[in-house]
Structure formats: C-alpha cells, structure tokens
C-alpha cells in the first residue's frame, strides 16, 4: 500500500521540541560582530545631516557606516517601474518611510549596538507625507520628484462603456483590503563569514537560499562561485521573506568591510516597520445582472499601495487580475489597476499575495448583488458557478483553470455547517431582538498556485548503504517538506521514510532552486523528486538485470522491500546497496522541471459569528472549510497549512491592521499595539476533505499553502455583514473591530435625516 495519503508524523519535530531549531540567531559563529541599523523616525523628510561622531566613540563600536560609504548601486525596482524609484541601501538624501535604514553600526555585542544607535543624531527637514494611496494618485506630494509621479505601474482597463448594458441591477461600492503585517514569529536575520580563501558563507532567514544568492550576485556584485547561501531553520515567512531587503543583503558587504564575521537579527519593533507589509488595495467594485440572480458584468478597479519603494507588492494586482472572475462564469469582466508609492513600509507578498484581494472583491460583490435583488447568497453563487464540466475553463482574462467542482464544495460546506439550521436560529434571534445576533458568511473561492515561478530542481542519489539522499530546490520553513518529500522518494523507491535524507536550503549542496513560495513546493519540487526517483529506478533496473544476468524487461521491482528480482524468482533479489555498489557511476539522477503550469485549488468556507449589538464586539463561533488542493500526500500537513491560513484570514477580517497617524507615523509598531491574533480569539476549525486531482502533474497535487487565508477572510467579513443585514447594513470594513462594527450599527439604526 502506498504511503502517500497517510498522516505520517513529521520527521522534523523531535529536534524542534527538544533542543529547538537552529535559527540564524542560534548559530554559534566565532568572533561574530553585531549589526544594528539606525532607522528613520520620519515618514518623509530630507536628511540635512547625520552625526555619527559620538556613536563612533561608544563602547564596543567597531564601525559606523552611512549611505555615503556604500559603493553599491541602489536596489533597482522591476524593469517596468520608473528606475528612479530605486531603494538606497542606506538613505542619504531623503527618507520615505518610518523604519528606513540610515546608518549601520557594528559592535562587539548586541546591547552595545542599541547603545551606540542612540548616539546617532539625524537632522531631518520634514516633508509632507502621503499615506492614502488614492491621495498619492493625485500627486500633491511626490515621493520621487525625478519620476514626476507616484505611479509605479498599472494595468489599464479596456474601457468598455457598455459593460453593464442589459443589467437590471448594478451595485457599486468602494471597499478596502487593508494593510496587514505578515509577522513571522522569527523576524529577519542574516549572518556572514568570509573565509581566508575569499569565499562567503551567508546564513539568511529566507524562503529561498538560491534567490538570496542571486541577489548577492546581482546587487552586491559578488561572483556566484564565491558565494554560499544557507537558509537554516527559518521561523516562518508567509511571503515576506521571499525577496531580500537592503538590511540583509548588506550583511556580507559589512562583513567584508570590517574583516570579521557579522550577524544581524532585527527586533520585533524593527520588523513591524522593516519587514514588508501585505495587501493594501483600495477596490472599486461594480457588479450587475438580472433580478433573478444572473450576474452579467463585473468590473474591479484597484489602487495598490506599493509602499515607499516599489517591490513585489507593486505587482500584486497582476495576480489579482488573473483571479478576477473568481468561481463564476460572468459574460463581461473588466479589470484595471494602478500601483502607487506612499510613505509606508514597502508592500510585499503575504500569504495569498494578490489572490485574497481578488477573492475578497468578488465575494463581497456577489453578496452585495444578492442583497440588492433579495436572493440568498448561496443561491446567487450556485446560479453563476462555472459548471464542473467546463474544465479546463478559460476566464475572461485568459486564465485557464485546470479542474474544479464548485457546486460540490458549496454543498459539502453547507451540509457540514448545517446551513438551514443556522438560518433558522438567525431568524429566531432577529425576531426576539436578541442583543447577540448571529451572522453567517459564505465564500467560494478559486486560487492560483505555482503561478509566475519556473519549475524546480530535484535530485535523488542512492547511498552506498542503500539509503536515499534527496536534494531539492524548495526551502521549507514550517511546511514539513522533509517529511512530505521523503514520503515521495520512499514511495517510489520502496524504502522507509526514515531512510531518506532530504537536503535543502544550501546553494553548495543543491544545484538550483526557486524556493518555498507561491504554494508550489509539492507540485513542482515534489514532482521533480518524483521524476528523479523514477529515473534512478530505471537505472537500477538495468544494473539489477546485469547482476542477475537477465533481460531488463524481465526485472520486477518489489516496492515493499525496495528490491529487484527476475520475474518468478523473488528469492534472488538485489537491494539498493547491492545496486549502488554495482553501478559504475552510482545511481543518481537530477531533474530540472520545466513548465507544467500553475494549478487552481478551490474551496468553500462558512463562517458563523456572533455580534453584540450593544458593543459591536464580534466572536467567531465556527469556521467550516472545504479546501480542495487536488491529491493530498499527507493530510496532517495539509490540514496544518489550512489551519494557519484560516487563522490569518480571520485575523485580517476581524483584528489586524497596520495603522498610521495623519503624519504617516505607524502606530502598530510592536506586538502590544498590533492585534496579532491569539488562541483566545479563535475556535477550533472544522475542515472537510475534498480531492479533485489536477491533470497538470503526475502527483495530481495542487498547492495548499495559501487557500485558508483566501477563503476565510471574505467568509468572516460576509458573516459580520450578515449579522447586521436586518438593519439594512450592506458592508462592514475590515478589520471588524468593536469600534467599527458599533459605528456601523449606530449609523444603520439612526433615523434617516433630511
């Protein structure tokens, strides 16, 4: 029986539970100095002077570095963005967000760095700051005068004037997908050591060791042959550690300058303003259709807040566009976006990266439309689903969905939630005028995984003792890939999972790699290993045939014991160690997977909330989730991914938001002020199994890393709106904090004036 599909416990766990992981800060690096960055305290200002003379004299200070010392070209944005919007390594003339690094201090130990940082005096000439992306669009305050605009990039609308022709009902609304902080529990960290022979080893808390290596080559000008990047244990990333930042890329440069190993580990307060933020879209939605529930047209216009220096965040609307139709077959769809710079921390990828925003827009739009025509949200959804026999399905913008069955997902979730009973209970509470009202929210989503990334590299080698060594380009940081990748190799080669060694996150050990991003690790990295193992199997068959003096076609592989024998004579079998010894060049294969395309997981979520009508407080009581990610290798790991995603989705819907005051000062700069979701604010989740394999790869696997977040956020938001629907409420902004909800209730209950 195949091991695939079983709840295999994680091989990673014993270490994490007993001695703890080895994160960058845990690395014992002999003689390492400590790097501390001095950061801007102003959102937008000209730098009139930076006085480091006192800091230089402070105890333990080895070096003090300003932007003038850094002989590297500023970090250029994507080619399609004005190149004048480049990010300086350390600000020299202008600072554009609170938290922007200005000075790097190198000290003997960590406390000395903080002491010396306090002795740096920066003379700022404040400039007006622009925080609101819609205001930034107007260009009254321009961040990069040389660019002459705050617009980083955009996707224009086709501009069809007759989009809503024939619609009996059209609903329009502006909604905001607010900024949130990814908050991996380990912040950013890096360490660098140059050896005497001129080779660099850099440890980086990164989702891609190879990506970091390439950045060092391209941006710091290092020779790839001299660079080794290792991603040791990484305490979460959620997209924010895919790309690098000036602070971590500068660490090897600093180590070379001071001639000693250095280490940099940011504090949480630094991380809250330094690590990129996620989301940040203002969305204008327009939806139209017939009174009997058919949606005929939909337009989504997005203003993306890219933050001060346009990074991957400026490109998120491209992902939003790809998923604009959601799970619906809508005859006419239009999308437009503009990404603008503002005086905020740069926007980056965060769990879902552009797709949660698309889903939030369409799933809110469907509810608004349903409310307008007085039809149930489940019925309107059903009326407009892409039917299950329409796959592969090409959407309005040309995205090709591989497989799906949205009706079934909705049926399953409604049944599990006991939707009818919930509606009855809601009705009763409304009739009684209860203080605590019930809200039921739906979301049916489809998302894209393994989008916009190339293939993945994987290699399999049989060791002399018959154990298997796998090298993979994925770079896990919590996903449990040591376990799932070894399951794939073990199943293919008939060995025990514990006899597979998985090597990753080290550019010296792994030839190529994309990393763990975009929910792609199993469908790309796993498939590459699966194929490499298949090639090893073929090689082994020939070697076994030689040893047994038989025709390769007569060889039988026994997957239970991992042995080859001639058909009919199982007693004379050759083991992996026999074959490894006999194969002249060893048994080894590497696969550089190309193509294959993305896959489209989907699902349906039901959220049940209670709302205190007197205080506006919301409790999430239930979250029922069907998430179909194709074939599942290890349901335990897949559920774990869903759980984490659900919590982050709930967090955005109800609690979390990066906030600023009117001068652009962030006010959520630590975990006391940022509403990081806790165990006390969540129920246990109800997850329901559904598997629709993809034809795109031989494992039938889609990605599961981000689905939970994508489905949960609108489900919970829709539930809050639903709890207040009897007051005529059609929308409640995220996060639905007591204050926000209370205000909506008061406004809805106030007698109409005028």
């Amino acid at each position: 029986m195949s091991i695939l599909g079983n709840r295999v416990l994680r091989r990673e766990d014993p270490k994490f539970l007993t001695t703890g992981g080895t994160y960058v800060d845990d690395l014992p690096i002999e003689g390492a100095l400590w790097v501390t960055y001095v950061r801007s305290t102003m959102a937008h200002a000209r730098l009139l002077g930076i006085d480091v003379s006192e800091a230089r004299q402070a105890p333990g200070v080895v070096d003090v570095i300003t932007g003038a010392d850094v002989d590297l070209a500023p970090l250029a944005p994507f080619p399609f963005i004005p190149q004048t919007m480049a990010w300086p390594w350390l600000a020299t003339e202008t600072v554009r967000f609170v938290g922007e690094p200005i000075v790097a201090i190198v000290t003997e130990d960590r406390y000395q760095g903080e002491d010396a940082a306090e002795l740096v005096f920066v003379d700022y000439e404040p400039l007006p700051a622009v925080i609101d992306p819609v205001e930034a669009l107007q260009g009254d305050v321009v961040l990069f005068p040389e660019a002459g605009t705050n617009v980083a990039t955009g996707q224009p609308a086709a501009g069809a004037t007759d989009l809503f022709e024939g619609c009996e009902v059209v609903v329009r609304r502006r909604i905001v997908n607010q900024r949130v902080a990814p908050c991996p529990l380990e912040g950013r960290a890096a360490a660098a050591v140059w050896s005497d022979d001129g080779r660099l080893t850099m440890w980086s808390s990164s989702q891609s060791a190879h990506g970091t290596r390439d950045e060092l080559v391209n941006r710091v000008g290092l020779d790839p042959e001299t660079v080794r990047v290792i991603a040791p244990d990484v305490g979460g990333g959620f997209g924010a550690k895919v790309a690098n930042y000036p602070e971590d890329l500068l660490v090897p440069w600093i180590a070379r300058r001071v001639g000693r190993p250095v280490k940099w580990v940011e504090s949480r307060s630094e991380s809250m303003v330094g690590l990129g933020h996620g989301r940040g879209q203002v969305q204008d939605i327009e939806i139209g259709g017939t009174r009997d529930g058919r949606v005929l047209a939909y337009r989504l216009s997005v203003v993306q807040n890219a933050g001060a220096y346009p990074r991957i965040g400026s490109a998120l609307p491209m992902m939003t566009r790809m998923m604009v139709d959601g799970v619906y077959s809508i005859p006419r769809v239009e999308f437009a976006s503009t990404s603008v710079v503002t005086n905020m921390t740069p926007t980056v990828a965060y769990r879902g990266a552009g797709r949660p925003e698309a889903t939030a827009a369409i799933e809110r739009a469907i509810d608004l439309f349903a409310a307008e025509i007085g039809m149930g949200p489940a019925d309107v959804r059903r009326r407009n689903f892409i039917p299950k026999d329409a796959f592969p399905y090409t959407t309005s913008v040309g995205t090709v969905y591989d497989s799906g069955d949205y009706d079934r997902a909705l049926d399953l979730v409604l049944e599990a939630a006991d939707y009818e009973a919930l509606r009855k209970e809601q009705e009763q509470r409304r009739e009684r005028g209860d203080v605590v009202q019930l809200g039921i929210g739906l979301c049916v989503y489809v998302e894209i995984t393994a989008a916009g990334t190339n293939g993945e590299w994987g290699a399999v080698e049989v060791l002399p003792d018959g154990r298997i060594k796998v090298r993979t380009g994925v770079s896990p940081h919590g996903q449990g890939h040591v376990t799932s990748i070894s399951m794939i190799a073990a199943e293919r080669l008939g060995v025990a999972v514990d006899d597979v060694e998985v090597v990753y996150g080290d550019t010296d050990e792994v030839l190529k790699g994309v990393g763990t991003v975009a929910s792609r690790s199993i469908q790309k990295g796993g498939v590459a290993v699966h194929r490499a193992a298949g090639e090893v199997l073929e090689q082994a068959k020939k070697v076994a045939a030689d040893l047994l003096e038989a025709n390769p076609d007569d060889m039988v592989f026994d997957p239970v014991g991992g042995r080859f024998h001639v058909a009919g004579t199982p007693a004379l079998a050759k083991t992996w160690s026999d074959l490894a010894a006999a194969a002249p060049g060893g048994l080894t294969a590497a696969v550089d997977l190309e193509g294959g395309g993305p896959t489209f997981p989907f699902g349906a979520h039901v959220a049940v909330v209670e709302v205190d009508m007197e205080t506006g407080k919301v409790w999430l009581r239930r979250l029922v989730a069907v998430d179909d990610a194709g074939r599942i290798l290890n349901p335990m790991l897949a559920e774990g991914q869903v759980h984490g995603g659900l919590a982050q989705g709930v967090a955005q819907a109800l609690f979390e938001e990066v906030r600023h005051d009117e001068d652009g000062n962030p006010v959520t700069t630590n975990l006391a002020d940022y509403a990081f979701i806790s165990a006390a604010e969540l129920p246990s989740f109800e997850t329901i199994h559904m598997e629709t394999p993809t034809p795109v790869n031989e494992l039938g696997a889609k990605g599961i890393g981000e689905s939970g977040t994508i489905g949960a956020t609108p489900a919970v938001q829709n539930a809050v709106v639903d709890a207040l629907a009897h007051l005529g409420v059609r929308h409640v902004p995220m996060p639905a904090t007591p204050q926000t909800v209370w205000r909506v209730i008061i406004e809805a209950s106030a007698p109409a004036t005028g």
Binding site: R10, D13, G20, P184, L185, R268, G644, A679, A680
Partner: protein, 159 residues
C-alpha cells in the same frame, strides 16, 4: 554582577551586566538556544521558561533577578530518546510548524496543565493567550494540550 541560578539542574556561576535579560543569559551565556525571542514588548511568549516552577516570559526578567532560582527550559524535558508527554502530544497532533514558538509554547502548556490538569478547550485557549504562533492557527496546539492532559507524567519535570 554575579549570578548563580540553577538551569535545568545544573548550577551556573557567571558575572553579567545588570541589564542582561534572562532570555539572553540563557541563550548567549549558558548556551541554551531553544528558548526564542519573538518580540520586545512581552507579548509573544516565545521566551517562556519555568522559574521556580512558575512559567515566566524570560524577556521580562533580568538575569540578576534569577540569581539562586531554579530555571527549567524546554531542553530539560526529554530524557534520552523519550519525549516528555507534552512534547509527544505536540508531535502526534502536529502542534508545530516552523518551530519558533514551540519551546515557549511547550513550557506554557506544561505550566497550564499544572494549574488545570483537566482543562476545557476554552481554558486552554485562554491560558495560551500570551503565547503567539503564526503558523498553526492554534488548532493543533490546543488539540495537543488537551491530549497531553490525559497522559501520565504530563505535568512532571525531571530536571
């Protein structure tokens, strides 16, 4: 200043700066790096250890305040190859992903079970409110703690 706490059963003796945090003492001076730092506002609980039998956030205690105290970190829980029941429950219920919150979470769970040997789900959730995890959505952590509650030796520490 001189400090001499007992850490995981071993008496230590060091001269430290008065401002040194206990968590940095454990990590940088004693060399026990399982205990992590996740914030600078005593919010996350990644640094949770037992101090004289009570769970504390070791980033809120100065090393000098722990002079003469008994400190237990997650490193002390397992014996040879045998995981402590709480560790075992975390493993069996997939209560960890990236592992960063885990050492603190396990110590907080242990302390919670000492106060509530047979907790309800709500008591577990309330009890772990000060220990943040970004990966698991807490679902399997709660499940693990409830599972550990039934195991013999779940509240014991052999250090």
């Amino acid at each position: 200043m001189h400090v001499s706490p007992t850490v995981n059963g071993t008496t230590q003796a060091h001269d430290v700066e008065p401002r040194l945090l206990l968590v940095h003492y454990l990590r940088d001076v004693v060399g026990l790096t399982a205990t992590n730092v996740g914030c600078d506002t005593s919010s996350c609980g990644a640094c949770t250890v037992l101090l004289d039998g009570e769970s504390v956030k070791s980033c809120t205690v100065l090393a000098v305040q722990a002079d003469g105290a008994e400190i237990v970190t997650v490193e002390a829980l397992a014996r040879d190859d045998e995981l402590h029941p709480v560790q075992q429950a975390f493993r069996e219920n997939h209560g960890l992903q990236c592992g960063y919150c885990t050492p603190g979470m396990v110590m907080a769970a242990l302390s919670l079970l000492r106060e509530h040997p047979d907790p309800t789900e709500e008591e577990v959730r309330e009890g772990l409110e000060g220990n943040l995890c970004r990966c698991t959505g807490y679902h399997n952590i709660v499940k693990a703690v409830l599972a550990a509650a039934g195991m013999p030796g779940a509240t014991g520490v052999r250090a």
